[in-house]
Symmetry: C2
Subunit: 155 residues, 2 copies
């Protein structure tokens, strides 16, 4: 499932990240190649899973998502069963945009954009009724200073 990724592939990926809507011709021009070779590279990168979903960035506030919480979770349970149930709970909840298992003191971090504090509380109550967690700290975002999905492929 791996693919060798050269400098031209990286340039193509950087362009696609920046604007997935531009035409093959434009991308080819940007990376100093032409349509067909670029198209073949994109196809290979897609097949290898390096290029995944194509999507649009939406204005969360305009759509009523006015609050965003980062949730730090500590648990005392470390059995496979519990972890299974916890993972399933997170994956099933559409308000959880990100979930990471961490090294160290804090076990998990979540990013949860919601309409308002009440919606967060509903989420929180639902979560703790499904799985036991030892300690939960919610950090409320006051201001999104920066938000990008781009990886720095040229840095």
């Amino acid at each position: 499932m791996t693919v060798r990724i050269d400098a031209t592939d990286r340039k193509i990926l950087a362009e696609l990240q920046r604007d997935a809507g531009q035409s093959l011709d434009e991308i080819a021009r940007q990376v100093g190649s032409s349509k067909t070779p670029v198209w073949n590279r994109i196809r290979k990168l897609r097949e290898a899973g390096v290029i995944g979903q194509q999507t649009v960035v939406l204005d969360a506030e305009a759509l009523g998502f006015e609050a965003c919480f980062f949730v730090l979770i500590r648990t005392s349970e470390h059995e496979a069963d519990w972890q299974q149930a916890f993972l399933k709970a997170l994956k099933d909840r559409p308000e959880v945009q990100e979930a990471h298992r961490l090294a160290g003191d804090i076990d998990y971090i979540l990013k949860v954009p919601v309409q308002n504090a009440r919606a967060y509380d509903k989420f929180y109550q639902a979560l703790i009724s499904e799985v036991r967690v030892h300690n939960v700290t919610a950090l409320l975002s006051m201001e999104e200073i920066k938000s990008t999905t781009m990886l720095p492929l040229n840095a």
Copy 2:
């Protein structure tokens, strides 16, 4: 700059989030309308800024981004000048994918995907040499359990 967003708009936005590569015809079929009205709605939503950048999701690990840190920052400085400098530092660093100013005890949270721990340390050293921060805690992700850019527009 605001626009009224009705149920059909939401369905269109949900489809675009899910797959921005599909054709107008497909989207029209999914939302139970036809090409022209869907096209006009998309144009309006784009002009209003509700629909932003069109992008692709890349496989970070395949591209060598094998570590991801969440960084919790406390500061004792709360003057405008300091904040200005701190914001600029974050915006200028391409490895910072997310930065939020928080309510409460912890002042900022960052998400920083990097190649490895050494790359994180370089970022950290560069940051603290640019701006004074009181206390920094780095949480290292061991496993990305869930990661999506999608807002739950139907929930």
